[in-house]
Symmetry: C2
Subunit: 197 residues, 2 copies
């Protein structure tokens, strides 16, 4: 039955560990978080953690890959459901804002964690799938003529740079109110920067 899957998932030690490190990495950072901390917070023993993840880096890598995949999937899904590139991009920004409020730890890890410091093999965040997808959408917008004929990288950073800085400000506590209240104004600014006509 379905219910047992949910319970199993709660008991799944891998998921327990991933949930715990998301909290701990945010609170103390990767390096200040010991395996002992992770064991205590997750309720999974040290030996079990090593059995499942190999080493400490393996935990971070698994978390990183899981989250980037989820985010990519969500962006693709949104993108496919919208008609115009304008609507696609606006809904992506809306989704990013919504994720920031509902899962700030995830957004924090995605945007702020210096993956290069503890995942030297991984590509920089700018080159990760979610950001590549955003650039793809922008490139399509230039093709359709919705977006002015400018460099794709310039268009992407102009369109999403403002919203991303707002998210960072919110995660830092510089911004007190929820992002949803700023969405219309932020999107209006962002779109003006690249809109054709």
């Amino acid at each position: 039955m379905k219910g047992s899957a949910a319970i199993r998932r709660l008991e799944d030690p891998r998921q327990q560990v991933l949930d715990a490190v998301l909290v701990l990495f945010r609170r103390q950072g990767y390096f200040a978080t010991s395996i002992q901390d992770i064991s205590r917070e997750s309720g999974v023993s040290v030996g079990s953690i090593y059995h499942h993840f190999g080493d400490k880096e393996g935990i971070a890598r698994t978390l990183y890959q899981t989250l980037t995949e989820q985010m990519s999937a969500r962006i693709s899904w949104i993108s496919a459901r919208q008609g115009s590139v304008h609507d696609q991009c606006r809904e992506i920004v809306r989704a990013l804002f919504e994720m920031t409020e509902s899962a700030p730890l995830v957004m924090d890890f995605m945007l702020y964690a210096k993956h290069r410091e503890f995942l030297p093999e991984e590509k920089p965040i700018c080159s990760s799938r979610p950001f590549e997808l955003m650039r793809t959408v922008v490139a399509a917008g230039i093709q359709t003529g919705e977006i002015r004929k400018i460099d794709v990288m310039v268009a992407s950073t102009s369109l999403f740079g403002g919203p991303i800085r707002m998210i960072m400000a919110r995660l830092d506590g510089v911004l007190q109110a929820p992002l949803s209240g700023y969405l219309d104004e932020v999107w209006d600014c962002a779109w003006r920067s690249v809109a054709a006509g």
Copy 2:
């Protein structure tokens, strides 16, 4: 004479250490850099380093404060020399781009370093002096009517968010060519997002 000052500065152990950690923190990050590494790279002994900085965190703090002060001073200077807010902001972006090319290590430390992980006392980078100054300029622009009447934070992130993302892409190696070639297009986009009229 002036020459001896320059030589003295090269011999100043504090400066030697700060120069070295800028390189090391960029290459390996704060936590992966040991005091031994710093001693080797700077040519200053471990004991001397502790004498001057107290502890490892003291090195990072000194570096952070020195760089934010320099950056703030430069932004203030630029801002004071320009007539319109439009020109002030454009020259700030130009200066940021120029700094990225001439001193990438400095920009990397300012934008990318997770200061919260090793400087828990410091304010988040969004709240640091340089960013506050930028918001002040933007607020002035709203007063003069050059910038539309929108939320100051929204206006700031919209205006500088794109350029900052371009800088990050450049530091990550995602962008191959120097930023100077993108300045006009980036600034055009940025200004459109907030310009009145």
